[in-house]
Symmetry: C2
Subunit: 411 residues, 2 copies
């Protein structure tokens, strides 16, 4: 049940840090479409602030577009602005201490989600047809979910990250947030360098039981009808699968083992990538970001070797389990968007972060592509449903997502 | 035919820009092994110069080790130094304008190959058991070949690049150069986070005909005996395969199409990643490096979209062709190491670069792991033979490489 967009203008959206008009370089399948770019991704001739003023001040103007931006301009799309990101993309909230909180037009008192907060807002406000985001641990999927739009985190290593500031390279991806599953498929296919197949076969659709069980009751209830619809339409193909059929250890820890592994390796990589700037530039950081970097700095690096081994073990289990035509299906996030200002400074306190990041860890650990569709709402607050495919099966996933979206719209 | 190492000390090797003693963080399977680290990879508490003094001056001390370094220290290995790299890793020569040319102990009048020149030299001189390198377009495989040692470029996206300076992220990898196939397998397995299988089945071994045909006659002749040995031992599994069985267009252009695609995307990414520093810091660059960056800057970025599509098309062809137990086999480089000082400044002049980079483009384009083994020589100058496996089949490839190495040593 895709809702009509609640339109807002650029100023009302508070999604942009800068607007401009970069014309297409040549015509293509994105003719007539407008896009925005997360301010972690270079636009040639502009500074990339990565959501932090000190970063902006200590880095030069980008001499060239990120490769992904050039791809879109060459396919006929027009770029109209740079959108707010959580500082250094280290966050899933969408509340930037320096640049503000982009509007979540579907739930104005709630956060848009981050770190691709401005990109999600710009799309949800109807200002652009799609936007570029990045997703390391949920930074496309979470804001797409909270703002009621479509989003894809691609297979890791598939879309070029050249000209995109790294956060944790073993998990970093560039992807798309869009107003419809068709625009999502078009824009993502340009970045992926492939066509979205028109004919394809779906194998099994595995509903991950633990991921549904871990949600708020109201999220589960909101998703009940779309899930039933999918079960009806694809009867015989949809089955409830326990994570422990994939990972025997999950019988005890559920998704927590996956999240812990993701978190350790991510924090280790963040400090390896950004620690030198934090230590040298001594940037003014928002209080949440300062605590986040402290966590990354304080990570016990003795755990790195085991985290890598565990990540590869999970990766192999998923690879063995998921057939080439199979999909996983799960809620994108376990709870609706939090009320603005309600999240504490310390992400290790409370359960919002671990619960959300447990859901997002599967694609991260598995290097899998994931598409989130806006399929339901709780008193107007958007709730998304996600599909994941095997590594490198992005084109198939986009086609399947279009089909599910149509099926749900007709239901 | 692995030769005994020609031992040289640190000073004679000219391979290091700095030495130190970083003790293991815990015991493990690398107990007692010493390694060196390419100066593109962070060691906490030290500056990473990336082979260029201005880079060193304009960047802070690394606050943490790269993730790959921590993995090795946690597995029992000891780090003894930082090794010379071609500037910013943009080169395959091993002649650094500022830091000199590490010794190729097997052919002292010839270049060691680059960009992991110092790492190859340190291993070949017997100073360390193995060394970390990076490989974007051949930077591990070429120097391992020229110095007569073992090297692995892993599957793209498999080993963490956090704390490693990017060059062209769609192709960047961290890998290992080693004195033996056993040490190679041990060290690489730590980074890969997996075990090397003891039991495994080899499917087809495809000798890529065009890659052999493109070599100097003397390289082909030097490889004839090891190839015959492999044919004899694995009779029925080894076959001559034409690249055009994988890529029909190769009937006309051979490997040139693969190389061109690699080059365009690589140069585009290099400028997206490093252009801002080149423009802002206005670094003193070696004359070859200055020309290389000019090529990256001048690349017609209108060709990016097509290069990405072509890369993915080749990638898919390879993926369809290569079964899970199959290997490709080809010469690592088409010619022996060039004489020092013989390479011109402009890589677009002469055929050394395009011929070499045609051979290395297959793994780059295909995201495939590749191991090079020192199997022959021409008047003492080393010649390597390479094996490539499917994407993600690094553990299988390492085991197969150990087996081929044993078989060739006994022959």
């Amino acid at each position: 049940m895709t809702r009509a967009l609640v339109r807002h203008n650029i100023e009302e959206s508070k999604a942009f840090i800068e607007t401009m008009n970069i014309k297409p370089k040549s015509p293509g399948i994105l003719n007539g479409l407008r896009f925005a770019v997360k301010d972690l991704i270079d636009l040639g001739g502009y500074k990339t602030s990565c959501g932090n003023p000190t970063w902006r001040d200590t880095h030069p103007i980008a001499p060239a577009n990120a490769v992904c931006v050039d791809q879109l301009l060459l396919a006929g799309a027009e770029c109209i602005g740079k959108t707010i990101t959580d500082e250094l993309a280290f966050g899933i909230d969408g509340e930037n201490f320096f640049y503000g909180t982009p509007l979540n037009p579907r739930a104005p008192d709630r956060v848009p989600g981050g770190s691709s907060s401005g990109s999600a807002s710009a799309v949800a406000c109807g200002i652009v047809d799609f936007a570029l985001g990045t997703d390391t641990a949920g930074s496309i999927r979470v804001p797409a979910n909270h703002c009621g739009i479509f989003g894809i985190r691609p297979s890791h290593g598939r879309i070029s990250v050249a000209g995109v500031n790294p956060l944790a390279p073993s998990f970093d991806t560039v992807g798309v947030l869009a107003c419809s599953s068709d625009v999502l498929a078009k824009a993502a296919s340009v970045l992926l360098g492939c066509d979205v197949p028109s004919g394809f076969e779906i194998g099994a659709v595995h509903l991950i039981a633990e991921a549904f069980a871990a949600c708020d009751t109201e999220v589960r209830e909101a998703l009940a009808r779309p899930v039933e619809t999918i079960k009806t339409i694809f009867s015989g193909k949809v089955r409830e699968t326990l994570l422990r059929e994939i990972d025997a250890q999950a019988a005890e820890s559920g998704l927590k083992g996956w999240y812990d592994t993701h978190r350790r390796l991510q924090w280790a990589e963040i400090w390896s990538c950004l620690g030198s700037w934090v230590e040298e530039a001594k940037p003014e950081l928002g209080p949440k970001t300062a605590m986040n970097f402290q966590l990354a700095k304080d990570l016990d690096r003795e755990t790195i070797a085991e985290a890598v081994r565990q990540r590869e073990a999970y990766f192999s289990l998923l690879k063995e389990f998921l057939g080439p035509d199979d999909l996983l299906c799960m809620p994108t996030a376990p709870a609706p968007a939090p009320v603005k200002g309600s999240l504490g400074l310390d992400r290790t306190v409370g359960d919002y972060y671990p619960r959300t990041l447990c859901q997002t860890a599967i694609a991260g650990i598995g290097r899998l592509p994931q598409v989130t569709l806006p399929v339901a709402e709780i008193s107007g607050i958007p709730v998304g449903l996600s599909f994941l495919a095997g590594h490198g099966k992005d084109d198939f996933l986009l086609a399947a997502a279009q089909m599910f979206d149509s099926a749900l719209a007709e239901a």
